[in-house]
């Protein structure tokens, strides 16, 4: 650490007022405060200062994403080799996935931070560290074979239109990572939805590859639910011995899907880290799960009346294990900028996300996955929820003071 500190100290005068690179001060400041906790201290008055600042918070969220990402990387290789009917060694499998996922992460960070630096230099602001988390989230919610240029376009769109036009980190209405995904989803639907993109290696696109094992299907578990209900026997190149085998694969994360969202186990570990450190709101996570389960049971209850839609009949807890529900609940819905701010508002916000996600999944045949749209919709509604929570609090207290005054 010492040589790094010395280097930063030596470089600092160049960036200060009058230095030759003064224009790029935000750049230096961004790097310096990323590497070392800044030494500012509050001079006067009794202010309580937490030692954790925004950059440290972001680093913790990224740490929480690591389990899901590592299992996701392994899963990319696993799905690929299984679809070809090959047995590969653990390290080979992991390396295949890592080589698919790392370029996505590098492009996401490179492009996103590039846009942020550009805006900071133009506006003369400090660097916004908000992209540290978004840059990691975006590759984790994309299919492994997404063309890198599409990712780059989506990141530019999300950072500029989703965030910078509103004034940068902390001012955005919509979750940046989901804005990028929504952009991809509507701009390039063939590369982020359907049944050809979830298993790496362009297996179907390359002309009905003859090497694919018998019974290969490229769909995600959610697309299968829409077709056959909960009795899924086959996903990708893997056939399951009964339903418990399938559920176990889904829980560990060895099913086709976007890179980081398949593993409920990894996401659960991440959730524990976030809750233990107090960074992620447990209120939101809990209420998203509650909302999803409540809507799941409700739809399950009426399943008998609508035999045409097998999705209705799946056990509600399947919603938590498969697809992006868990990932969205833990990492997206809890985004402190775009979520509701009041504790009561957080319960309402989370519950409605869960409810909407399941409604979209089950009742809209065009979208087997609904988490993205549910969270984006509730992002827009979050300020409204907060407004009414605050107003009702004011009304309640006014009533109380009036009652006291009359007594």
């Amino acid at each position: 650490m010492k040589p790094l500190r010395n280097l930063m100290d030596k470089l600092e005068p160049n960036f200060q007022e009058g230095g030759k690179w003064h224009k790029y001060w935000p750049l230096y400041d961004g790097f310096a405060t990323f590497l070392f906790t800044p030494g500012h201290a509050t001079g006067k008055g009794a202010h309580i200062r937490d030692s954790i600042d925004l950059k440290r918070t972001m680093a913790m969220v990224i740490l929480a994403m690591v389990p899901a990402m590592l299992i996701g990387m392994y899963n990319v290789g696993f799905q690929h080799f299984r679809a070809l009917g090959e047995e590969a060694a653990f390290m080979d499998t992991f390396l295949y996935g890592a080589l698919k996922v790392l370029p996505l992460i590098i492009v996401s960070y490179g492009v996103g931070l590039g846009v942020e630096f550009l805006f900071c230099i133009i506006k003369g602001h400090q660097i916004n560290e908000g992209f540290l988390v978004s840059g990691m989230l975006i590759p984790l919610v994309c299919p492994p074979d997404l063309p890198l240029w599409m990712l780059a376009v989506a990141v530019i769109f999300a950072v500029v239109i989703g965030k910078e036009v509103f004034g940068g980190t902390g001012m955005n209405v919509l979750n940046v990572a989901l804005t990028a995904r929504a952009f991809l989803f509507f701009a390039y639907p063939a590369d982020i939805s359907g049944d050809k993109v979830w298993i790496s290696g362009n297996l179907v696109a390359a002309g009905e590859n003859a090497n694919v094992v018998d019974g290969y299907t490229g769909e995600t578990a959610l697309a299968q639910f829409a077709k056959v209900g909960g009795e899924v026997s086959h996903l990708g190149g893997v056939a399951y011995d009964g339903i418990s085998d399938f559920l176990m694969a889904g829980f560990i994360g060895l099913v086709p899907g976007s890179v980081g969202e398949t593993s409920a186990l990894g996401i659960l570990l991440g959730a524990l880290i976030l809750i233990a450190t107090g960074i992620g709101s447990w209120r939101i996570m809990l209420s998203v799960v509650a909302g999803g389960l409540a809507m799941g049971y409700l739809l399950n209850g009426v399943a008998g009346m609508f035999p045409d839609n097998p999705y209705l009949a799946i056990p509600p807890f399947y919603h938590l294990i498969f697809g992006g529900f868990a990932f969205g609940a833990v990492f997206m819905a809890t985004d402190p900028v775009t979520a509701s701010q009041t504790p009561t508002g957080k319960y309402i916000y989370g519950f409605l996300i869960g409810v909407l996600a399941v409604i979209i999944r089950v009742l809209n045949p065009a979208y087997p996955e609904g988490m993205m749209l549910a969270i984006l919709f509730m992002n827009v509604m979050a300020p409204l929820i907060d407004h009414y929570v605050i107003q009702s609090n004011i009304k309640r207290r006014l009533k109380r003071t009036k009652a006291l005054a009359h007594a």
């Binding site: 063309p147 599409m150 376009v153 239109i161 036009v165 952009f183 509507f186 701009a187 390039y188 639907p189």
Partner: protein
């Protein structure tokens, strides 16, 4: 400020009045930038979203709006002292509706495929806020000459934005402009894909937003003090 200058101009009764005075020219140039009907007055957004997927229908709609606005403004301006103010909206509607019917029938007769493409949006010129807005705000209180210039300017300002949005949407959404393919096949072979979001109406809204952003960062007059 502007009223003072007009008083001064009128007082000496300039013998040889030029065809377009500076004030007349401002009537045409103002709506192009400083007082653009879409980006500054924020009128007529619906049609900017609906008909800008491709450039060709956008151009036809612009011509329709230009026609309706110029003749509508001229008519209302001529009638302005005859119409009781209580029924002025109805009179404006009748005039505009008649002109829109002319446009609609003309399109059906001369360019049937475009007319089908524009479908209901020709009829909806009647409800285009720009048309009624300018009749109400300008033609009712001014002589036919300036009214025509004002209508012409506003229709042009509207058209400029529509054409910019349509060019971007058609190029990125369909890879063509005016129906001519501009992106070579080699790009598609290398993996380029047309952007489906540009086909959808929300992208038109975002594009209009970006135009407003660029315009305001260049034109300091438009920055609100707050």
């Amino acid at each position: 400020m502007s009223t003072e200058t007009t008083v001064q101009e009128k007082a000496p009764k300039a013998p040889a009045k030029p065809l377009f005075t500076a004030k007349d020219r401002k009537l045409i140039t103002d709506p192009l930038d400083d007082d653009n009907p879409i980006t500054v007055q924020v009128l007529g957004i619906c049609s900017a979203l609906a008909v800008t997927v491709q450039l060709k229908p956008a151009l036809f709609l612009c011509m329709g709006v230009l026609f309706v606005m110029v003749f509508g403004s001229a008519t209302i301006s001529l009638l302005r002292n005859l119409v009781p103010s209580r029924v002025r909206i109805i009179v404006q509607l009748v005039v505009v509706a008649a002109l829109v019917t002319v446009v609609d029938l003309a399109l059906k007769a001369l360019a049937y495929d475009v007319s089908k493409e524009l479908s209901v949006f020709v009829g909806l010129i009647i409800t285009n806020c720009i048309v009624m807005g300018r009749l109400e705000a300008f033609a009712l209180a001014n002589k036919p000459g300036p009214s025509i210039l004002d209508a012409f300017g506003n229709a042009l300002g509207y058209s400029v934005i529509l054409i910019i949005v349509a060019i971007f949407r058609e190029f990125f959404g369909s890879g063509s402009i005016m129906g001519f393919n501009l992106i070579p096949q080699g790009f598609y072979d290398m993996g380029y894909v047309n952007n489906g979001l540009f086909i959808l109406p929300p992208m038109a809204l975002i594009l209009v937003g970006i135009i407003i952003w660029v315009q305001r960062s260049r034109n300091k007059k438009l920055i609100e003090a707050n």
